[in-house]
Structure formats: C-alpha cells, structure tokens
Amino acid sequence: MTSDTSSKIIYFDNIPATPEKKSIMSRLGYRTRLTTLQPGDISSMGETINLGLALCRNRGALGRLTITDHSDDSISLPDGNCFEDKQLARLLRHSEEVLLMAGTTGSEITTSISREMEEGNASRAVILDAVASCSADMILDWLMETFNKMIRKEGRKLTRRRFSPGFSELSLNNQAVIFRLLGLERLNLHLTDSMMLVPEKSVLAIAGIERITN
C-alpha cells in the first residue's frame, strides 16, 4: 500500500465477533436490578437480537505502518501521511508502528434497520441498531486481540486503547486516509463527501504497536 516494505494489509471476510446479549441489552438501557421484563418480552427481544446477529456480515482489515516521526501533536507515516491530534500523539508516544483497522457489519443489517423503521417497527429497528453497533465494536476488539497475538512473539503489543477519526481533535477527514491506505473498497465500503462510512455500521480505528518492556 505504500513504499514502506514492512506494511501490508490483511483482510478478514468472516470475523467471529458475536456480542453477548447482555451487552446489547445494556446498550439499549437495560439495567439488571431495575428494568422489568415480561417473559414474552424476553423471547421476542431475543428473537430480534438473533435476527440481528444473523444479519451481520462481519468483515475487517488490518494494516501495519511504520511511524516515521513523532511530535507532541502529530505522528507521521510513510508517503507523507500524517495524523494530527495531541491525544493520539500521546497515546502513540511509545509506538514505533501504527496499526490501522477497519470493521463493518455489512449492508444487510443497515438495510433491515431502515426497512423496519419505515414499516413502523421502531422497537425492532432500535434493537437491530444496537446489535449492529455492538457487533462493530466487537469486530475491532477481535482485530486488536488477533493482532496482539500475532505480534506477541516479536516482543510487541498494541496500545490498550484505540482511537477513531472524529474523536478528540482528530479530524474526520482522516477517514479518507485510512480508507485509502487499507483499500477498503475491498470490504464494499465507501466514504461520503462528508467522510461518513457507508454502510453506516462501519468503524475505523488506529492503535499503536509498542515493544514489551520489563
């Protein structure tokens, strides 16, 4: 993807990232000791959650790049690419390389969410929306866990946190940089003029690769 020979992209066509039902319920506001559910509610919501999980086609990509320069408020990558943000620069201060990640739950679930909403089934739509959101998070968790295992024998690890464009001062325009570097057309993603990823339940993130020290 760049002139940096250490960098390469790995694509995953089926990521086994299935969020737990309790995390989906929690995202919807369920509180264990407070929220009261009827047995019928439990089974119908369970069915909708299962449908949502079945609708998710979890895919992702990873790209590893060398950091060519650090400063207090930016990090530089090969070929003139640069991420400008103080918090990100601080997160990556001990990193020699950066890991770019992308995850998507695919278009089928987002189409279903819109359809349910249009057909007046708003409660089903919000449950499917929560399933997709939790799945998208899980995809990035899975990518980080998998990559951490891959680099463990090199004596390296990922930063505990990851960072996404649009948060802190890291401009959403960086979505275009990550999109290009990872070649995300291969995951059937595209970016709108306002830097929104389509399908909607798609996420990009950055983490640092550090050496394990004593």
Binding site: D13, Q38, K149
Partner: protein, 789 residues
Amino acid sequence: MLLDGATGTELQKKGMPSGVSPEKWVLENPDALIALQREYFQAGSKAVLSFTFGGNHPKLDEYGLGDAVREINRSLVKVSRQAAGKDGLVAGDISATGRFVQPFGDLPFEAAVNIYKEQVAGLLEGGVDFFIIETMIDLQEARSALLAVKESCDLPVCVSITFNEDGRTLTGTDPVSALIALQALGADAVGCNCSTGPQNMLKFVQAMRPFAKIPLLAKPNAGLPKLIDGCTVFDMDPEEFGKYGPKLVEAGVMLLGGCCGTSPSYIARLESNIKGIKPLLSKQPVFSAVTSIRKTVQIGPEFPVTIIGERINPTGKKTLPEELRQGKTTEVRRLAMEQAAGGAQILDVNVGMPGISEVKKMTEVVETLATCVETPLCIDSSSTEVIEAALRIYPGRALINSISAEKAKLEKLLPVAAKYGAMFILLPLDDEGIPGTALEREAIVVKVCDIAGSYGYTKQDIIVDGLVMTVSADQEAAKETLKLIRWCSEEFQVNSLAGLSNVSFGLPDRGIINNAFLAMAMGNGATAVIANPDSEDLMPIKMASDVLTGKDKNSAKFITSRTAKEKPSREARGSMESRGLLEQIFDSILSGNREAIAPLLQKALAEGHKPDSLMSQQLIPAIARSGELFDKREYFLPQLIQSAEAMKAAVEVLEPLLKADAPDAPAKATIILATVKGDIHDIGKNIVALMLRNYGFNVIDLGKDVDAPLIVDKAKETGAEIIGLSALMTTTMVQMKTVIDMTKTKGLRCKFLIGGAVVNQAYADEIGADAYAADAQAAVKIAREWSSK
C-alpha cells in the same frame, strides 16, 4: 526423533542482516547455514528443517522473488543436504503465507493449496526426506498446506500448530480440535511449536495425547520474548529448557526440537536429558468425534445423546430457498444460531433444491457457518461432488449424511470420505432398496463397515442410521428401527441414530409421536438423533432421557437446564382477561401490545365510551406512565418504543373521530425535525418523531443529511414553533449552529432542540440552542413544556 532448534535468529548472530530476504541471503551465504545445521546434528538432531520457512510465493514476493519459488526451495534443500551428509535427514519446511485463508481471510482455499503445491514441488526437487508444516496460526491454512503435500507425493508430513498462551490458535482452534482434524486429513504427526515456552506446550501435548493416533511433535520457544537493554531475549536458558525434555517425551512427544530463542546448546541439553526415556505409548485411542474450527464434539454411549439439528434444509421452507437463490446467508445464519442455542451439537446442512448450483451454494454455506457458529457440521447431500467440495473447504472434521451400500456410494463417495477423514452416517440400504427388517439391515451395516475398514475406517468413525420409516404407513416400521438400534448398541457396538421427524408423517400432533420415539430410541441405545432442537418439549425429554439412561452424570445438565429456565418477572401483571376493558386499553399501551389496542378501542367505542375520554383518561396516562418507567429505568428503550408503537396504532383509530367531534380544536405545535447536513445517522431522530406524533404534535420530518437552507425554508413555510436537530459526529454537529444562525438571520422565532451522541447541554448553550435532549423521552417532555406555555 530429535529435530533442530531456531535457525533465523542463529543466522542473525552469524551476520544475516534484517530487512533482506532470509532465503536469498542464505543462498548467497550457504556456509553460514551449513555450519549451523552441522552444529545441530552434532548436538543430537537427527533431522534439520530446510531454510524455506518463508519460501512460498506471497512471502518471497515481498522481496520481488515470487517468480523463483521452485528454484529457491530446490537450492535451499540442497544446501541443507550438504549439512546433513549421508545420515542426517532434511525436512521440507513449510509455513504461513502471511495471508488469512477463507473462511476467515480473503485468500481462497484452493489458491492457498496451489501456493503450497508450488513450494512443495521445489522442495521435492531438492530431495527432502519428509515435510514439516510449522508455525501455523490458522488451522485452515495448515489444512491447505497438508493437502498440497499429500496431493503431491507420498512422503511423511508433520503439521505443527502455534497455540497462544490461552491455548488457542489465532483463529480460535484448541489443540484437540486441531489434532483430530489434521490426523483425519492424513497428517503423519501433529504437534505444536513457537509462541509459548515448554511449560505451556506440555499442557497442549497432554490435552492432545488421549486422541492421538499418530506421533506428537513439540518445538517450544525458549520461553517468551522480552525487551532487555534494547534487545529481544528469551527468558529460558538451555538448562531450564532441557528440564522439560523428559516431561514432553513422557507426555507422548516423539519428535522434539526447539523454536525461537533456542540454539544447538539447547538441543544438546535436550539430547542428554531425554537419553533412555521412551514415550509412554498408550493403546490406540478409541473415540468418535467431529470438530469445527473451534470445538470438538464426541459421540458415544458414555455421552449424552448428540442432537444433530435438521433445520438447514430448504425442503418445505419459504424463506431459506428464496435467500439461497438470492445469494443471501441471513436465514442460514439465523437457523444455525437458533439451533446451536437450542441445544444442537452438530448441524446438518442440506442445500439441495432446483435452480441453483448445489456445489457453489454448499461451499458458500459451509464457509459462512464455519465462522458464525462453533457447532461442527454434517454435510448432507446425495451428490458426491457436493460432499467433496464441502469437505475440502471445511476447517474441521465433518460428518457426512450419508453413505449406503449402493454401489455408486461405495465406489465414489467412500474414497472421498476417507481422503478427508470425515465421519459418516451409514444408511443401511442398498441397490435393492430399503430392507424391511432389522436383520437385513444388520447385514448391510456389517458389509459397509468391512469395506470402509479397507479405507482405514474403524467402527468409531461411523454412525448407523436406524432408517426411521413412517408408522402411519407401517406400524411395524418403528419396531424394526428400534431393533436395529439395540443391535448396534449391544452387539455390534457402533454408534446409531434416529431421524425423528420421519416417524410421524401423516399423524396429528406429530411432536408427541416424535418425542415418544426419541425416548424409546434413547432407551434402546441410540447415541444421536436428527431433530429440530426447538421442537416443543424435545430438549427436556432428551435431557430427562439422558438422566434415566445414566448419560447425564449426577443429572448435572438436567438440573442446570431446569434452574436456568426463565422465571416470570416479579412485577408480572395479571392476565388481560382478568382486567376490565378500560384497564386492558391502558395495559396495552403500557405493555406495547399494538395488535390488541385497535380491537379494544373499537369495542370501547361500541360500548359508548367517548374518543376524547379514552384519549385523555387511558391513552395519555398510559404513555405518560411508560415514560415514567423509562425515566426510572424500569423500562428500557425497546419497551418505551413498543408503548409508542401501540400509542400510534391507538391514535390512528381515535384521531379521525376526535377531529370529527371537535373540528375547530387547536392543533399542537408544529415541529421540524432533521439530521443535519453531512450526517447519515437518523435512528434517534426517527424515534423522537414517533414519540412526538403520539403526543399530538404536527411533526415534519425532513430526513437525514439535510441542508440548512431547506430546514429554514420549511420552518418559515409551516410556521414551525420548534426545530429539532440531530447529529452523531463532531464534524457534523457544527451544522447545528449554521441552522440556528441562519434561522435567526431570517427573523424566525423558533425554539431549537438538539440531540445526538456527541452533543450536550454545554454545546446547546454554546451554539444558542434552547435545549438539549438526552433521549426521545426527554425531547417529548421539553416539547410539551414549551407548547403548554
């Protein structure tokens, strides 16, 4: 046999720089490798690995050497042959491509096989004695390499997997599942290398041993890597490392060596420590098991009866065939997940239907299911071609449904089954048809087992189908099936199963017949059944039968399943029937029962209740109560919205009547809603619209990604009192200020309500919005407050 230790790190000590192609460097500096490998032989190694770890096309291509795969592999083997001399052995070393193979990754399985076949050809030309496929982080890639070797030559081939500290490969495979899948596929030895030190590796080997019909291999690292004074070092010295040699051998390892961080001195220590120690060889293990990439399922009389879920079959279904034709997999995933959650331990997969390519569809479905559920698969087709295509790409050991004594099946399908090492269901029928009696079926079972034995099969690899026929056509049929099952269990000692649903065709309440037959089949010794685990009472009866036949030790599974049953909510309300009509209307809104509300309202109207009193005394209090429960977190979002949906259905009934009764009643405020320009997230805004409409507001929803001028123009045109704006991203929330400024510039006197994940009250204050709403309920409260003033 003692193998070698690390090569790459040792060559770096001898001057190999980083950033170059290691294979090319060795070809330019062969003496360094020859010297190192001679040291390994002197230390006690009986075999060394060719320096071809990165000798496949994708790896060599990273250095522009992708066109020289055969030549490089051939030449590197010849270098190692010089080191080995006459007595030493050279193993052709094969490892990962750096890409992930389907179903996890994007590299097609057959492409991976071909990549490895190219490398194998070079290694064979160089003159290797056997193969070691090593440091494999994904079982599917290991399978592709193993098939490449086996389809290229008859030399022995060992497969060594890398497990992480959690005892799983990167793609989630445990040591037992890896062993069973690879030995079934024809590996001559299986084991593990790299990643962890010998301590963890001992645990992996111990887990594998009870299932190992072939020798085990271990090449541990010298501990785990750490950074000390800027250098990567491994924390175990040769003496400490060597202590694990005897333990590994005693655990069953017959091929032992070292991986990262080891050197000839480590191998020398192993050699001296294991001298005279022999592996404690156990009897040939006896077990029946299938695996997925992440799970092993054992079948047998000592285990609870195995449920093979039957629902992934287009016959008699509407949605599944439609989706399969459209290339969708949602229904397949849903059926798989539901059956797995319902208790199926194996999933039967049948995609046979007219108008599709069964081979293509079966491979798509198998790839989908291989990652979406942990449950092993049973490949169900009448076509040998379909079954072979599925077995080839299935990352585990599958079950085949089925092989009979028909000539075509024995001649074509049995060799295919044997090549991939699949278990199979034996259908006791032949070219003459289905025998009517158990005695005739027994003869067929014996015949097929004998023939299968010549392909290396044992009885443990076979499950006999009792051939369940429908009792409505022949009432003796079930008895014959049960006789055969009993014979399999007590005399022939082979697994047997019953396909439950066949027995009840043509009878009413089929579930009762099926469940009774399940209990009888289990009582006669069936070890598996093909069934729908979601059928009413099937699982409880199966679990109870497991208790009564002594298969559920201490009744543990039964007790757990019964205590885990859903308990009614502590605040469960009484049944609808016990409530009066008006209370039922209230309850329907509160519980979100939108199907019930319209008929109830019609009944109330027919009884003389006035629309305005129903609205003000039942519906509005109920929806308000729903909001209160949401505020107290006794309701969560889906419940709040279900109430809103029921309210919407109620309003549709009453609104025309209310308008007819009071045509001049003032309408509530007009509210414009929009997700701002550049933002495509609109579910939150849609919910706000639904809730506001229920409270009688005139909501004009402009949708998502809406230009500021359009919002302002619409507000002017409609005389809107409130504009509600939504944004999910920090980059798009600035558009809210644009709308507010533009509205004020045009002299409109609207109130602004904003919401969305990235905004808050402080941001509302900053941009001049009148209020921020954290959720839809809060938005309704604010709008009602404003409109009441």
